[in-house]
Amino acid sequence: MNRFDYVRPSTVAEAVQALGADPAARFIAGGTNLIDLMKYDVERPGRLIDITRLPLRAIEAKDGGLRIGALVTNASAAYDAQVKERYPLLSSAILAGASAQLRNAASTGGNLLQRTRCYYFYDTATPCNKREPGSGCGAIGGVNRIHAILGASEHCIATHPSDMAVALAALEAVVQVSGPNGERAIPISDFHRLPGDDPAKDTNLAPGEIIVAVDLPAKTFATHYTYLKLRDRLSYAFALVSVAAALELDGDTIRTARLALGGVAHKPWRNTQAEALLQGKPANRETFKAAADLVLQEAKPQSTNGFKIELARRAIVRGLEQAAAGTPQSQSDKRIQ
């Protein structure tokens, strides 16, 4: 861990100013990921800007939906009465991740900005284009059973580890940011990016920008939803594959469908064609399989993660079944519904 300066602004404007154009400065909120990365010498910030005093801790009604402040902890968001009642998919996804202690510390904005869990990214003895552009990708041809099957590039096969972001993708949340040029809104689908030839860049945040809130639209999917997470132990592990499924039904017919996958790509993976395919179709296994096939049509295995393609296919089908039946996956009872 390197030596760094430390500042603690009290307003968003001050924070943005403090960050300025300094590429070596980092915001720190819960620190649940950044401090690990600093200990591993993956991140070597010259300056830490502690944003925990910024007034970004509110959960409030907004345009028929809900605005969640960037500093709302994962635990506060998951257990918030409005989130639980109106957006149980989000609550469930948050509770599927990490541990109680981490959720108490981790923030909404920080959750979106957490880095991949690729082994090579964390290990400075190995090459990694995300950590050190141009050094190569150690994971390709290496230990990659947890890596991407969709949207990867020859430069990077890392996945985004967030559970929360997968639910936000399905809910079509909007990320509110503030920066040197004022405020702007970024749809969640455009927030994270695919690695392409610039895997060092996880998101489309512009230099100097800070997340101030995440807006949830009015459509809540509070009845037919699930967050189904498959992993290498029953809790406290990152997803091999996860599925956020949300439906609106007319009887047995699907009126609206949302489907996002975690653990399979550099960003929460949403396929709107598959959602379109589901619309107007009967909510049955056959329909769900067709959607799953479409989502995974372009999936590509790495040397040891081929199992994830079939696993994702099955998880999509089960997730949609759970959502359609109104029997969402419990995050405390580990029996799969």
Binding site: N2, R44, T126, R233, L234, L240, F307, L311, R318
Partner: protein, 753 residues
């Protein structure tokens, strides 16, 4: 017959009782200090720089930037390393395998990934850690060989055998022919994964330079004598110049048996600088010294249609390092467990560019018993036998590998009680025949076995005039409850209240005792403590008889009862005298005794001694998604006398949880291209979490053993052995799919075929 502790009295007050840990309050309040927590004036902090490559040499190491950081005392590399002993044998510790032990910073040669290549010593930990990140290294890289499968063809019979590790016995009968002509045959390969111990406490050493030039060393070690002798040898010190302490261990599981490189480096720096130094390794560096190396195993069983074994072959090829021939007992268990006329057991090593593997809880047995007990389940299925019945059909009352009867073996009773508690009789034998809603249900079982050992140990006891007793020796309490059971034994032997007894461990100033390992500590240290206390009892009794108007004047020692801090006449409690009064009246300041306990040669010649277990496991599996829940485990243990059902149960519970981890989670993944374990942290190296653990039921069956006067056989390892086989057998029963490669992860459950 096992002895009672109170001489002549036959009333144990504490032994056999579920006494809470005597060291518990110190541990939960933070008073218990660990090796990396002891303070010293002017303490410097060392941080280890680890090799990025697995094989080759250091072309250039540039520590200038690190040394330039204010607060950095020194950077030690192979280029400026102070001299230590030139004799490789000086680095041999008490449990070292044959070979030339690794010496940190000895040369520019790199022999495994993560090898220490520099120690950065600073005024504080943070500065040292920062400076360590500034050390620049250029390597000349060679291609590492770390794939045990690829190297299995180059396996060899280790020319030097490791002390205390029995090589496979000579084959008997004609296993090859018998197998070829058997009506029923099972023949398969079994795999595990490389595993790392990962105790909670990181490996750490604090070397304190005393004013008189001697060294006080706090080291994470399972027995201080091993550290002491290693330091004295490697650094050319007289024994009295070094004192080693380790009163508490935050888990070892075998990773603390050998002195590790952080000790060597802390001592190197302390001696060089004339200043106290602490070196604490990181969690990642847990992957840089010892591990349970995978073995590729083949088991071939031949049987008649009734399931009676006619042939048994068990072969293992295990990885070791390039510089030591680490060995463990993997295949012998098959010959000990079952009655068979044609048996061939073979074991060989192959060299890998990794650190030397080391003993990890039930070393060898975890590996070998997984294979034989899965193979036995395959035989049960092939012959249509109930798995318990098959094991009873091939039950043996003697150890065929050495033609000796067992000193005791209540495995049949363990099968009976375990099966009853589990409800085994309700098992439907057909795979895939049991369901709970959407989940397939599987019930599997296996046998566990571990050798019951005793090591020469001594103990010292001192009874003060205040009636308080102190006992102890050098061995470590590695979290097993040694403090507690020794306190119980001492209290009962002298009839003292528990809170009048203090047990001290883990200090080379105390009586000699070996490292704590192999499940031998209760038998070894327990017997020594009992003998020392009995010696004091006899001394006190003699003094009491000599007192004026002694109520014990005409009483034999055999009729003396030690209870409540008094010596009383059996059957007449009114006749007695308090121990404090005896010392006072006779002007005795204290009574002292040192006793030695050693294995009973006559017993060892006549018998072999093992602990056994019968493990029953239930899994529930969502087959489509490959999600497995291990919902129940019952383990019935036959391990002689149980000194403390509470700490004993904790040992078995911990073993079972670790066994579940071995079966379902633990896997250190090597990138063979660079010879490096890649998931070197607890986020990605998975051990069970609470959600993975459900009902665990532990039964201790009565077993009378006579290997030692206490009748104990040891409990540290037996809990884990066989658990993985019971679970994998349950997975087969649930799904009809035989997974012979641990850990049983989602990908293996959903895989085709």
């Amino acid at each position: 017959m096992t002895v009672q502790f109170s001489p002549a009295a036959g009333r144990d007050r504490f032994v056999g009782q579920a006494i809470s840990r005597v060291d518990g309050p110190a541990k939960v309040t933070g008073l218990a200090k660990y090796a990396g927590e002891f303070a010293a004036p002017d303490l410097a902090y060392g941080v280890v720089v680890s090799s990025a490559i697995a094989k080759g040499r250091i072309k250039r190491i540039d520590a200038a930037a690190a040394e330039a950081v204010p607060g950095i005392v020194k950077v030690i590399t192979h280029e400026n390393r102070p001299a230590t002993s030139q004799k490789p044998e000086d680095y041999q510790d008490a449990v070292a395998p044959p070979g030339a032990p690794f010496q940190a910073l000895a040369s520019d040669r790199i022999v495994y990934s993560g090898q220490p290549i520099a120690l950065v010593v600073g005024e504080d930990f943070e500065t040292a850690r920062y400076a360590a990140s500034l050390v620049r290294v250029e390597y000349e890289t060679a291609a590492p060989l770390t794939d045990v499968t690829a190297q299995s063809g180059a396996s060899y019979d280790p020319p030097m055998k490791r002390a205390g590790i029995k090589p496979p016995p000579e084959p008997w009968g004609d296993a090859a022919h018998a197998f070829d002509t058997s009506e029923i045959r099972v023949n398969a390969q079994y795999r595990m994964a490389d595993e790392h111990h990962n105790p909670m406490e990181p490996h750490a050493s604090t070397v304190v330079v005393e004013k008189d030039g001697t060294y006080t060393v706090y080291d994470k070690i399972q027995g201080v004598s091993n550290t002491h002798d290693y330091i004295a040898g490697a650094f050319g010190l007289k024994p009295e110049q070094v004192r080693v302490l380790n009163p508490y261990l935050g888990g070892g599981f075998g990773s603390g048996l050998r002195p590790q490189y952080q000790l060597f480096l802390a001592m190197l720096a302390a001696k060089d600088l004339g200043r106290s130094v602490r070196v604490t390794l990181t969690r990642d560096q847990m992957w840089s010294f010892t591990y349970r190396s995978e073995a590729i195993q083949t088991v071939a069983l031949g049987a008649d249609p009734s399931g009676k074994l006619t042939a048994l072959k068990h072969d293992a090829v295990q990885g070791t390092s390039t510089y030591e021939d680490y060995q463990e007992v993997i295949v012998n268990w098959s010959g000990v467990l079952y009655d068979c006329d044609n048996v061939a057991l073979t074991y060989s090593l192959t060299k890998l560019d990794t650190p030397t593997p080391g003993d990890m809880r039930a070393p060898g047995a975890v590996t070998g018993v997984f294979a034989i007990e899965t193979a036995m389940d395959e035989l049960a299925h092939a012959t249509g036998q109930d798995p318990v019945q098959l094991r009873l059909k091939n039950y043996t009352e003697g150890d065929q590998t050495e033609d000796k009867p067992f000193g005791s073996k209540e495995l049949k009773e363990a099968f009976r009680q375990g099966a009853e508690r589990f409800g085994w009789d309700k098992r439907q034998p057909e795979p895939r025949s049991m369901r709970d809603g959407r989940e397939l249900v599987g019930w599997g079982m296996a046998t566990g076995i571990w050798e019951s050992m005793m090591m020469q140990s001594s103990a010292r006891a001192v009874l003060g005039a205040d009636g308080r007793l102190e006992v102890g020796n050098q061995t470590g309490d590695i979290g097993t409850g040694t403090y507690t059971i020794l306190t119980q034994i001492a209290a009962d032997t002298l009839g003292l209240p528990l809170d009048h007894v203090t047990t001290k461990l883990g200090d080379t100033k105390l009586a000699q005792a070996p490292v704590a390992g192999g499940s031998w500590t209760a038998a070894s240290s327990g017997t020594a403590v009992m003998k020392a206390c009995r010696d004091i009892a006899e001394q006190a009794f003699k003094l009491a008889r000599g007192m004026d108007n002694s109520p014990l004047a005409n009483v034999d020692f055999e009729r003396a009862v030690f209870t409540g801090g008094r010596i009383e006449v059996a059957g007449d409690p009114s006749k007695g005298v308090a121990l404090t009064d005896i010392l006072k009246a006779t002007g005795t300041e204290r009574l002292e005794a040192t006793a030695e306990a050693a294995p009973d040669k006559d017993f060892e010649e006549a018998y072999n001694a093992y602990t056994h277990s019968a493990i029953f496991a239930e899994v529930k599996i969502d087959e489509e998604l490959g999600v497995l829940r291990c919902t129940r485990v019952v383990s019935a243990i036959a391990a002689g006398r149980i000194l403390n059902p509470k700490t004993a149960r904790s040992q078995i519970l911990g073993g079972i949880v670790m066994g579940i981890g071995s079966a379902l989670h633990e896997e250190s993944m090597l990138d063979h291209r660079i010879g490096r374990f890649m998931n070197h942290n607890l986020g990605e190296y998975h051990v069970p979490v609470h959600a993975d653990i459900h009902d665990i039921d532990v039964i201790f069956v009565d077993e009378e053993d006579k290997a030692n006067p206490l009748g104990v056989k040891g409990l540290g390892e037996i809990g884990i052995v066989g658990v993985a086989a019971a679970i994998s057998n349950a997975v087969f029963h649930a799904t009809g799919k035989r997974i012979r490669h641990l850990p049983i992860t989602i990908d293996k459950i959903v895989a085709e075929g």
